[in-house]
């Protein structure tokens, strides 16, 4: 199947619409806002240059998310900062959840091994499938599956608390 390609207009609309979500994805990996901003910019530079290769399969956010994740991991490999100290704090919790609970989840997530955190963030912030995550991290799909399972198991007690309140 020939790639349908993505137009500059599409990319601009995607960038402007999804910038906050893509920044969060990058930030969750780089643990640094400036590095995350660089990652998003570098990712879109790459997307512009390779826009003709966009196949039009799946959602375009995930296509951009893969590129942002790769750039964020590249940025991350240059630094050694702890996760998320500067990421925005929860401010507007739902009726099911209060700030204390969200802080607990946040702290619990920070304590996860780096690979578990990255897999979680790629899955939930990047909306990426297991095979896409495996490709980005250079691991098998089975490893992604078991890593997510381990992370879910580690966070389960906190999630139960949130759910039952």
């Amino acid at each position: 199947m020939m790639p349908r390609g993505a137009s500059l207009t599409e990319l601009q609309a995607l960038y402007e619409r999804e910038y906050p979500r893509l920044l969060r994805l990058a930030w969750s990996i780089t643990a640094d806002r400036a590095a995350a901003q660089d990652a998003v910019q570098d990712a879109f530079v790459s997307l512009i240059r390779h826009r003709k290769s966009y196949r039009g399969e799946g959602n375009i956010f995930s296509w951009a998310g893969r590129s942002v994740a790769r750039e964020a991991l590249r940025q991350r490999s240059r630094a050694s900062k702890e996760l998320g100290g500067e990421m925005p704090e929860p401010a507007d919790p739902s009726s099911q959840t209060d700030l204390e609970q969200l802080s607990a989840i946040r702290n619990e997530t920070r304590r996860l091994p780096e690979r578990q955190r990255h897999v979680l963030f790629l899955r939930y912030f990047g909306d990426l499938a297991y095979d896409e995550i495996a490709d980005i991290l250079g691991v098998s799909v089975g490893t992604v599956s078991s890593t997510i399972h381990d992370a879910q198991a580690a966070l389960k007690p906190r999630l139960e608390e949130v759910h039952t309140r």
Binding site: S28, P88, R106, T109, Y130, V162
Partner: protein, 219 residues
Amino acid sequence: MKAQIAADARLGRALDQAFPVDSSAAGNWADVLSAASAVKRPRRRLGTAVALATAAVLILGLPALAAINGWWFFGPGTPTATGPVVQVASATEGSDVWVLNAYSSDHGICTVLTRTTPSPAPIAAEGCDPDVHARGLSYVQTGASPPFVFGAVSPNVTRVTASLTNGQTVSVETIHSDSFDQYLFYVAKLPSGTSATVLNAFDESGRQVAQIHTLEQRP
């Protein structure tokens, strides 16, 4: 495969709330376009005798630049000059001072823009292109505000126009230097927040002799 994934919606919701999106965050599309239109600096490879048909771009903050032989753009891994560095143009607009230099090198003709404006930040950019005569023009585009596009052109080019992302077109006359018989030069200051998407070169009769789409991927 997405179909294989039974997403844990509860975990996703919890993480979404625990690490909320900064909805006020906004990127700068013009900067992205500018960066996309800049071309990566060619890396030297030992034993490579084939000239790289790719323009080289380097954009750096001046405070970080180390002057070697009096020029910031010479150092390890940079093109080797095969002729003198010549100032081909300069301008002062209020506090905005810029200088365009050029020199022949083992990577072709190099053009260097150095801007010493203190605010928002000084910039310096360099591009080298061994293939100007085949393409008609070379270009370097800076992402700073205001952005610049500049380069070398074939000697028959008298005017260069830049089509911008905001729909406008900027037109500049080419610049002659007694030190270069085979090249003319151009430099255009662009409106802030824009970048050039297409560069056209015209000869004296108004005939278009070269065109470059700056966003096209180079080989």
